[in-house]
Symmetry: C2
């Protein structure tokens, strides 16, 4: 199955952009009448037929519409401090998209190694990943947000902060897969290489965040973030198996 992405698709007729038209006609050598799939990234999957195999303006017609195609059965928002090396963060965006995530919020923290975040490359990575893993729901990449803003924003679900410091709260640190329950919406915060500052951890707890651990291993920021994404997937899958 070949999946194309266009958030502006309005059925029935649609003309692919120049890059996708070329890919479709020149690279994949699809001709008139051939079918391909297209998604708006908001859950709708269209099976389309090529009506004009123009390498610059390939026009397709939707012949079948599937709403809510394979939705993620839970909400997971990951707040992650961008890594100094942009590739590492983009790698996380690709992998999190494959495994399953609702939204990613790049965090600006006391020890952040990057305070400027240009979303363009990340958006490209996410688009390539939904096409590759055939997803109709595209994860949302939010803009860089100061931690304080994320701590104080309302969130319908459990809110967790993963940090390497001593537990501050009475409850102590719980292991994410033991703390999270199937179907629960979750917001998980992952700090920079230098960890969240004590001040930030206290602020998170004061805002009602639960302290969690991802295990005893020392993980890089992007590894910790993907580990949390896989853990949420396991918690939401294992009870059905």
């Amino acid at each position: 199955m070949q999946l194309f992405y266009d958030p502006d698709f309005v059925p029935p007729l649609h003309t692919l952009g120049e890059e996708e038209s070329r890919h479709c006609v020149r690279v994949l050598r699809l001709t008139e009448g051939a079918s391909l799939h297209l998604t708006d990234g908001r859950g709708t999957l269209y099976r389309c037929r090529i009506v004009s195999a123009d390498p610059r303006r390939c026009t397709v017609e939707a012949v079948e519409t599937v709403h809510d195609f394979e939705p993620l059965p839970y909400r997971l928002v990951m707040g992650v401090a961008p890594t100094k090396n942009a590739d590492r963060f983009e790698w996380f965006l690709e992998k999190a998209t494959e495994v399953g995530v609702t939204a990613i919020v790049p965090l600006e923290t006391d020890h952040s190694e990057r305070r400027v975040f240009r979303p363009q490359r990340g958006e490209k990575v996410i688009t390539a990943a939904i096409k590759q893993s055939l997803k109709a729901f595209r994860p949302e990449l939010r803009s860089l947000a100061p931690l304080r803003e994320v701590l104080e924003a309302p969130f319908e679900g459990r809110r967790f902060i993963a940090h390497c410091d001593q537990a501050r709260s009475q409850a102590g640190k719980r292991y994410l897969p033991a703390a999270l329950h199937p179907g629960e919406a979750a917001l998980v915060l992952i700090g920079p290489e230098g960890d969240f500052s004590p001040r930030e951890i206290d602020a998170a707890i004061a805002c009602g965040f639960e302290e969690i651990t991802l295990g005893t291993q020392r993980l890089r920021t992007e590894t910790a973030a993907l580990t949390a994404v896989v853990m949420a997937s396991v918690v939401n899958t294992i009870h059905n198996s």
Copy 2:
């Protein structure tokens, strides 16, 4: 804590290689009397004191020896078909080392995209990862092996094959985190982008491998492989939390 790696370290005195000496003296600016840690990658961690801060031949003396430093509480061997893009496989080696793996076997399969595997870069990646994540046990990177060899080799533990085809065995496919139990040694096989061939899957089952799934998401080879590594870690951690 600064961790250095030298498989040939023989206490008490040791002279670091040229690259590590330079890193130690020029980059970290460590001087005589300063302490650093060194591992042989076989589980022994030495706390050392610098006796000669020579930027080309830095000599250290072991002042404390810790045997079996933070061993992985389970055995996990990952058999993974190398990806066409070498970076993706090396990325897996780095992340698997961080999360926890005993050994990695690059697999030669019917649909393999790479039939030649040069371990040098992978070894470098693993060494950098154990230093970065402070591990005294270095995962073993085996040489490229034909699948058949791995299927027929003896293994003390559960043996799993993750594939995307229909389940062949009576038992069907089980979800890895539900099939694996804490403390069990496991060998998990992950196929190439084109999956294992039906012939290979049948051969694995005939050799006693259990068919598993990693969930319903479509994962790239290296993502599937790391997902399995995280799942094994969760299974072995959650029962203690």
